[in-house]
């Protein structure tokens, strides 16, 4: 599915009664329903094991769908022609593999260009343009494994964008990165937003999700809540998703914080 110029209200991604999980493990998600409109950016939150990554991977075709369906612009996501960009955590790819940043982005353009042993000039040029888009032009020919976490994550975003899909799935891009890297990734996500890309991003960072996204999906095996941050990050809903281990604390600047109740005392003291 190549990038389309759909109107913002047109559904880009429809998930209906979805049930999925790894073939060798019990089903992780069940009876899952939601719709993403074109250009919409949604954060997927929930505890460990809630099924965030399973949901993203089943949409991307990495995990088989047991029940229900996922429609990408009205077409079943399992159809050969359907392309959805999936951005893994940077640690999921081999850090020691001998590839440059340019090589990694070109991989996203392999579809339709994969039967020649070399990359055509057009592909090389397009990959460079994408690297420039994320301010990575200067490091195009550096080894991927030698780059910073923020740079690596942005390269993986550029690679997903190279797939010419208008829907991107991001699996915890802020996981294990420092403040500087997080700022770089935020800037890359802003670029995607400007490009009109529909985004579904799994994250554990409630503060960032509430601040940067207009809509949250709270997950625990199925959708617990779906809506704007102030409607989703309610104590009762968080209790339903996280159990007794979390609650929501309104801080001075209005940002929400989800924490273990045992940590409350320390936070109030500040």
């Amino acid at each position: 599915m190549t990038r389309s110029n759909n109107a913002p209200e047109t559904p880009a991604l429809m998930v209906r009664e979805l049930g999925a999980g790894y073939p060798w493990a019990p089903r992780t998600i069940d009876q899952l329903n939601f719709t993403l409109c074109c250009g919409e950016c949604v954060a997927l939150v929930g505890p460990n094991g809630a099924g965030k990554t399973t949901l993203l991977k089943s949409i991307a075709g990495l995990i088989p769908i047991d029940t229900g369906e996922v429609l990408v612009h009205g077409i079943d996501c399992r159809h050969r022609e359907v392309q959805v960009g999936f951005i893994p955590q940077r640690n999921a790819v081999d850090q020691n593999f001998p590839v440059t940043a340019h090589d990694v982005v070109m991989m996203g353009l392999a579809r339709g260009n994969s039967w020649l042993p070399w990359w055509p000039g057009m592909v090389r040029q397009r990959a460079l343009e994408l690297l420039e888009l994320f301010q990575l032009g200067e490091i195009a020919h550096q080894a991927f494994g030698e780059l910073s976490a923020g740079q690596q994550q942005r390269i993986l975003i550029a690679r997903a964008l190279a797939q010419e899909s208008d829907i991107l799935l991001l699996d915890e891009p802020f996981s294990g990165v420092d403040v500087a890297a997080a700022a770089e990734i935020t800037s890359a996500l802003e670029t995607l937003r400007e490009q009109g890309i529909t985004m579904l991003m799994a994250t554990h960072d409630m503060v960032r999700a509430a601040r940067d996204f207009d809509r949250l999906l709270l997950l625990r095996e199925t959708v617990v809540a779906d809506g704007p941050p102030e409607e989703v990050l309610r104590p009762d809903l968080l209790h339903q998703a996280y159990g007794d281990s979390a609650s929501v604390l309104p801080l001075k600047d209005g940002v929400l914080h989800v924490a273990n109740p045992r940590e409350h005392a320390g936070l109030h003291d500040d």
């Binding site: 073939p23 060798w24 991977k57 991307a60 075709g61 990495l62 050969r80 392309q83 959805v84 960009g85 999936f86 893994p88 999921a92 790819v93 081999d94 020691n96 593999f97 001998p98 590839v99 440059t100 090589d103 990694v104 991989m107 996203g108 392999a110 579809r111 260009n113 994969s114 039967w115 020649l116 042993p117 990359w119 550096q142 080894a143 030698e146 690679r159 797939q163």
Partner: protein, 289 residues
């Protein structure tokens, strides 16, 4: 100068030596190219296991007077596909499957070959190679099958790189990931069987891994690594041949020792360079220390 040239040309006046040298250049290049994918994909254990798993096929060919290539190839491909089958749903981990298949097939090979009265001699040929015994038919097999392996790598090069670097991207791009994974293992199996006569089962792994590992230390790109490894493999074959000719050391040992020496030198050189870079000649010392 003339003496050096004579020393280099002298072995080539013998037909068996010409065939040996040609075979070593061919398997040196082929093994290193295929080995590059093994090094980046972390398949060293698989390579070692497969080198031993071809034994029953080779043993059957030895005892029945059949073709060693065909026997070894059959056993190698059977082992590779059995491992792929056992690990298809991840209930059995890849290294566990490799271990089980490898030991079972090696034991089967020993059992078959022990039937023959010349058990010790036959086993020595299989384990340590017999490069001087290569005939025109063997060379033809090497050229044809080796060419097929290289052609497969050329055709599937980008797809293999993607699947080795990030298999999930391969799936997202709808590449035939399972086929590519099986293809790589089969190409390793074919390469091992083709190189069997040159260095034998016991030393096979060095031909696959050492030039590739050396090249990995010297380059940051896979395409450069593959070519450099191929050249190092060729050079290893040629130098090993002459070392063996002049010193009477078995060719397999000579090649492996030479390749390992080059790896050691490159590794040491790189470590030294990194150390120099870290300490830096112009870094001023802290005052008062």
């Amino acid at each position: 100068m003339t003496e050096i040239l004579d020393a280099l040309l002298e072995p080539l006046s013998y037909g068996f030596a010409q065939r040996s040298l040609l075979a070593l250049i061919l398997v040196g290049f082929l093994s290193a190219v295929v080995g590059s994918f093994m090094v980046v994909r972390g398949l060293a254990f698989f390579g070692d296991a497969l080198a031993h798993a071809v034994l029953p096929g080779v043993a059957v060919a030895y005892t029945t007077g059949g073709n060693l290539f065909v026997g070894g190839l059959g056993a190698g491909i059977l082992a590779a596909l059995t491992i792929v089958f056992m690990t298809r749903d991840r209930k059995v981990k890849e290294d566990t499957a490799i271990g089980i298949v490898f030991v079972t097939m090696f034991a089967l090979g020993i059992a078959i070959i022990s039937i023959r009265p010349s058990y010790g001699l036959d086993l020595a040929h299989i384990l340590f190679g017999s490069i001087s015994g290569i005939d025109d038919t063997d060379l033809t097999y090497m050229v044809l099958l080796g060419g097929l392996v290289l052609l497969s790598i050329l055709v599937f090069y980008k797809q293999l790189i993607i699947v080795c670097f990030d298999p999930e991207l391969g799936q997202v791009l709808r590449l035939p990931v399972a086929f590519l994974r099986a293809l790589l293992l089969v190409l390793v199996a074919v390469t091992i069987v083709l190189s069997l006569r040159a260095v034998g089962l016991a030393l096979m792994l060095a031909l696959l891994l050492t030039p590739a590992a050396t090249a990995r230390l010297l380059t940051k790109r896979m395409s450069h690594m593959v070519w450099l490894a191929g050249l190092l493999g060729c050079a290893g074959g040629v130098m090993g041949f002459y070392l063996s000719w002049w010193t009477n050391v078995p060719p397999g040992s000579a090649i492996v020792l030479e390749l390992s020496a080059v790896f050691g030198l490159v590794y040491a050189g790189r470590a030294l360079r990194q150390r120099r870079r870290r300490t830096g000649p112009g870094v001023p010392s802290m005052p008062g220390r």
